[in-house]
């Protein structure tokens, strides 16, 4: 078991990162920490994808010195997926930050529980 984990240490680290991020996103009360958790979670998946996509001894898929044998290059798809994932992650983070700023302006705290308690006492509630 330990040997398998050591042999696949990149994937193991990625899953641990995912777990840390997931737990932070779920249980942290502070909105900024939740956001950091979300980014760690996404990074875990990207690390997993990047490590699975890389094969030791092979090169980036750009033809160099006239070598066209596919066995000499790595598959470019995982890297493409990571790039797409990063774009998605950045967009989501931006939206979440905008929402956080708006909530902070209104409630003057980043603690989600406090915000919830304050909002319950507001007159705009129907």
């Amino acid at each position: 078991m330990i040997e398998t984990l050591m042999a696949n240490y990149e994937e193991a680290a990625a899953i641990i990162l995912f777990g840390i991020g997931f737990t932070m996103l779920l249980f942290q009360r502070n909105l900024m920490k939740k956001l950091i958790g979300m980014n760690i979670m996404d990074t875990g998946v990207f690390l997993f994808l990047a490590s699975m996509g890389y094969i030791k001894g092979r090169k980036a898929p750009i033809i160099a010195n006239g070598v066209t044998d596919p066995a000499r290059y790595i598959n470019p798809v995982p890297a493409g997926l990571v790039l797409t994932g990063i774009v998605v992650s950045v967009s989501v983070t931006a939206v979440m930050l905008a929402l956080t700023v708006r909530l902070y302006h209104r409630y003057h705290t980043l603690d989600l529980d406090d915000i919830y308690i304050i909002s319950k006492h507001q007159t705009e509630d129907r």
Binding site: L25, V88, V95, E124
Partner: protein
């Protein structure tokens, strides 16, 4: 007729383009453009549905001429086209019926709201038609962002708070979905659904790979279950639907969550295959959570003191029905689940478009205690709420009855006796609870306590017309359910 094959891709691309275009238009122009564009999309999807039903097969649109297993594909069959058609009609009707409430919005935002609706349409169509699992993920995220956008357009604190909670749950779901997709790609080496399926059949012969596949499917399912609000992940629903504008609440409850479920069904059918899915213990978990959702969603609805929260909890119960059907499997289990997606989309949008009208004549309050006699003050909204409630309870001639009948048939035709008994029991209990909380509300809104002056507000065509269309579809689903079941069966035959 071959040109019809271009419609799904063009619909997605043009919707994306329309989203950008609407940001540059003036409010009125953006509104009119969105309505006309949705009408054009509906016509297009009707053509695709007719084409697929006539040819009896689905078609694949290969983008950039790169054949499988490379490139990206869109695949359209009768089920996808029909579902897209229904979703677009519900979206259009929700937009038209809720137009009146958009006037209350900050005037500088209406065109942005239209832009978000167009982007959401693109995501909706892409999730329905895509044949590539990673494209599915990208559009799931676009759907999440646009859903959040149409939610926070109502600028009050509780809406922003609801949006944050909605986003957090959705991001948890998206993260899990992405991990599931990556794991599946890792073991199969493909992103297109059909080559993935061929690889999975081989991999299932090896116990080690089968375990990884089961885990990946479980993670992916958990992600989409959180996003669609399956019990016990449904607690974001009441705040989200309760604090959104009427159009947003109708779209979020009837289309967005259903779209995720449709994507999940597609993954089960096209990527895993129904045989592989039936062999997984996952189906029992989905079945059990579905049953719990049916009962506990209804119990929460019964305890609600606010009409929107009640309708939202009722959505959680209805999502439970769909997952119970998926978990039950078998011919009728799948048919019942897909039929219920359509029924719930039509009925719930109608209910969410009715409640703000009832509140409007009750000092803008959604609390039950203030809603007494509201249906007498606004007879149109009262009548529509009554019909929606009767459908949800499962009274014959309405769509809800056919749906519950199909679940009953699915339970009876199930090979597993305990599953049959449990589903029948949950169906009976949930129906009784449905009747309790909907009829209680109906009695309250129709009871005139004489405390308020009766001042019926006049019927507006932009409210009456879309609501009548939704009722007609509801009655069609109820009275001609055989036709729709036939469509689902034909669709499923070309779905895998």
């Amino acid at each position: 007729m071959e040109a019809v094959k271009n419609i799904p891709l063009f619909a997605i691309v043009l919707s994306l383009f329309s989203g950008v275009l609407c940001t540059m238009l003036k409010n009125k122009a953006a509104r009119i453009y969105t309505v006309l564009f949705e009408c054009a999309l509906i016509a297009g999807m009707a053509l695709v549905l007719i084409y697929t039903l006539q040819t009896g097969t689905s078609f694949t649109y290969v983008m950039g001429e790169f054949p499988a297993p490379w490139g990206n594909e869109i695949r359209a069959g009768a089920l996808e086209a029909g579902m897209a058609l229904l979703f677009l009609i519900v979206m259009l009707m929700s937009v038209i019926a809720g137009m009146h409430y958009l006037d209350d919005m900050d005037a500088s935002r209406v065109h942005l709201y239209a832009a978000l609706l167009n982007l959401m349409t693109a995501a909706l169509l892409a999730e329905i038609f895509t044949n590539d699992i990673f494209t599915g993920y990208v559009f799931v995220e676009i759907m999440t962002l646009t859903s959040c956008g149409i939610l926070i357009v109502r600028e009050i604190g509780r809406t922003t708070l609801a949006a944050i909670r909605y986003m957090i749950m959705n991001l948890l779901g998206s993260g899990l979905f992405l991990l599931g997709v990556v794991l599946l790609y890792d073991v199969t080496g493909h992103l297109l659904m059909v080559p993935m399926h061929q690889e999975i059949i081989e991999l299932m012969k090896d116990p080690g790979s089968a375990l990884v596949l089961t885990m990946a499917t479980g993670i992916l399912t958990l992600g989409l279950a959180i996003k669609s609000g399956l019990f016990p992940f449904h607690y974001w629903m009441p705040d989200t639907y309760g604090w959104a504008t009427p159009t947003s609440a109708a779209i979020l409850s009837s289309l967005v969550s259903k779209c995720y479920i449709f994507l999940l069904i597609k993954i089960y059918w096209r990527v895993l295959g129904t045989d592989v899915f039936a062999a997984m213990p996952l189906k029992y978990i989905l079945f059990a959570l579905g049953l719990c959702g049916m009962v506990f969603g209804s119990v929460s609805a019964l305890r609600a003191t606010n009409i929107n929260r009640m309708v939202a909890f009722s959505s959680a119960a209805q999502i439970g029905y769909i997952y119970a059907g998926i978990g039950l499997g078998g011919r009728y289990g799948w048919i019942a689940a897909i039929f219920h997606i359509a029924v719930h989309a039509v009925t719930k949008s109608m209910l969410f478009l009715t409640t703000p009208r009832l509140a409007e004549v009750s000092d803008n309050s959604l609390l039950f205690k203030n809603l007494t006699g509201s249906a007498i003050r606004d007879r149109d909204a009262g009548a529509f709420f009554l019909m929606g409630s009767l459908s949800m309870i499962g009274i014959p001639i309405f769509a809800g009855f056919s749906s519950k009948l199909l679940f009953g048939i699915a339970a009876v035709s199930s090979a597993s006796e305990p599953m049959m008994l449990l589903l029948m029991l949950a169906l009976a209990l949930s129906s009784v609870l449905n009747a309790l909380y909907f009829l209680r509300t109906v009695i309250r809104i129709f009871r005139d306590d004489g405390s308020r002056k009766i001042c019926p507000i006049g019927g507006r065509w932009d409210y009456l017309m879309p609501m009548l269309v939704l009722i007609v579809i509801n009655l069609l689903l109820g009275l001609a359910s055989g036709v729709f079941v036939g469509w689902i069966e034909t669709g499923l035959s070309m779905f895998a």
